[in-house]
Amino acid sequence: MKSTRLVLCSILLCGTTPVAALAEGYQGAPRTELFNPALTSCIRDTSAFKKAGPYVIGFSNAGLGDSWRVVALDELKQGAQDHKDVIKKLIITDAGHDDAKQVSDVQDLVSQGVDLLIVSANTEKALDPVVTRAMKRGVPVIMLDRRISSDHFVTYINASDPEMGRLWAQWIVEKLHGKGNVVMLGGQAGSSPNENRMNPALEIFKQYPGIHILDTVYSDWSPVKAKQVMQAVIAKYGHSINAVWSAHGLQVPGSIEAFVEAGFKPGEIPMHTTADINGALQMAIKYKVPMLEVGDPPSQYRLAISVALKVLAGTPLPCVVTVNSQIAVTPGDETASIRGDLPITDLVVPNGAPDMLITNDLGPNYSPSTAHIDYPH
């Protein structure tokens, strides 16, 4: 907490200058690995992929459709720059969230002779056949934050999607004492972060007969679209909505705005779940919205380069590599199962930009709109 206080002091001193990556809560090993009830962990033998450097690494990106992905791509470039002694080239393609283009991009990267391919799949099923074929041809593939539906890859790096989904759902159940109406506010239908957060959450909700899912809507991770779809939901269900389960923070400001514009007073807006986005936390405080934040840190993109180098060195790896999710709750809203690593009031950057990711690790002066990350290409 000491470091948190120091950081908060520095925010106050900085005045209105946006700064990122500030508060620090839990810093230990990935909880998903420590709490894993299985007797053994899945470890992948990568000796078949061992080769001498320097390496050409290809990254097939689903797209840059939201601010999280912009920061994450900068993290990946920084990762390549961290290891520029062994990475000759990082080739990045961007599919603009078009499955057909991403399938072609993966084929093009393979024919460019990359030593290893990192793929963030636009949708988990559509990219499965082409990634499976790349693996069959002997090109090691690492899935990054968005996986394919089969396990035909070397490893999958993410902040645990099921963990996020379950924690959010359990918190809502306990806050509502097992009785109430929930709206599921998804991201992009068919993308693995959406499916792998929403499905485990629904499994939890199903265990409580008093919990009713009023509606499931998709925001495509956009606050603008979230506002539109939530306006329709609010018009239909009004004050009978008791909680909004949101698959990330990107869409939360749009949802809260829709409630505010529908005449909900501070304190009346139902509880929301969120991740990463500063604006969602700022609004939680401003409008007294009970909120649980479980982070999805974009630093997993920086980690991806280190993991790629381990694969090319033939080091055994977990089949799923997780990064820690920070857990933060609005004061007074902790429940029997959900204890925050820090309160949301400590995590928020009050004067920071609303679209800032509070969980990035590119330093206090990093801003996605002005940053230029140099990398080998």
Partner: protein
Amino acid sequence: MSATILTPPATPRRVRRGPSADMLRLLMVLALILAIIVVGAVVTDRFMRPENFANVFEQATDLALVALGQSLTVLTGGIDLSVGSMISLLSVLTSGLIDGNSAMVLPVCLGILAGGTLLGVLNGCGVVWLRVHPLIVTLGMGAILQGVALLYTRAPIGSIPDGFDSLAYGRVAGISVGGAATALIFVLVAAFLRYTNTGRTIYAVGDDSQAARLLGMPVRRVILLVYGASGFFAAVTAIYLVSRFGSGQPYAGADYTLASVTPVVVGGIALSGGRGSIFGTLLGAYLLAILNDLLNFLHVPTQIQLVAEGLIIMAAVSIHVERGRRS
């Protein structure tokens, strides 16, 4: 064809001048493709590998298929803006109904092809009997079909049995099976357009539908045929995409509505109808695929790829328009 209906002239007046003008347009698109290949060869040696060309041949397939149907509607002076939604709906129905069961593949695919054709014919009926501009009729149909697709599912649905993906990814002697089949379909449709009365009537309707009607040509039947064909090829594209993606998605076709027009105009078919060759459409699809491939090899960011694609379209179309004015 009924005896009371006059047979259209084997080579109508304006079409007689067509072949040479068409040939020049085709050569122009070919020249652009060759220019891209030269740039690729200079920039990187890996570009010229046979495997890369095999990839491009395969990657053009979906766009070529949907654009083939679009070419036929544009040749009659119409347009089909429902193809994108039709692909979305038919793709979710294909994978949703097959759902991993190999015994369902044949009946479902036949049903989807019939369904696509029927929806296309309905578009044609709207154009013929409601006398509403095809743009409006097909736009309305597109909205309805997208709605139905979302009512059916809001997320990817179903799966395909092992082996179904070889339709999209299968290679024989290094050559894409889907790509080769598509090229063959283009040859067959081109032969139909050139050597049958109905085929020539399609050009005549686009050239001047009033004159065609006065000459007693079966204008209505031809319009039903081209929209039916557009629906059929949208269904073929949907099945192909399910094979490529392993499942159907409710927005799988969204990008194809306008994208399907691009190879048509780049290939030299006049939007006013009656002029151009469907081989231009095929070359247009190859041009766009190889351009995307080259820009990936040059590591050009996607935003600039879109700009480059836009410039190529405008350049190609302005050249065609200029040639059209001269002729």
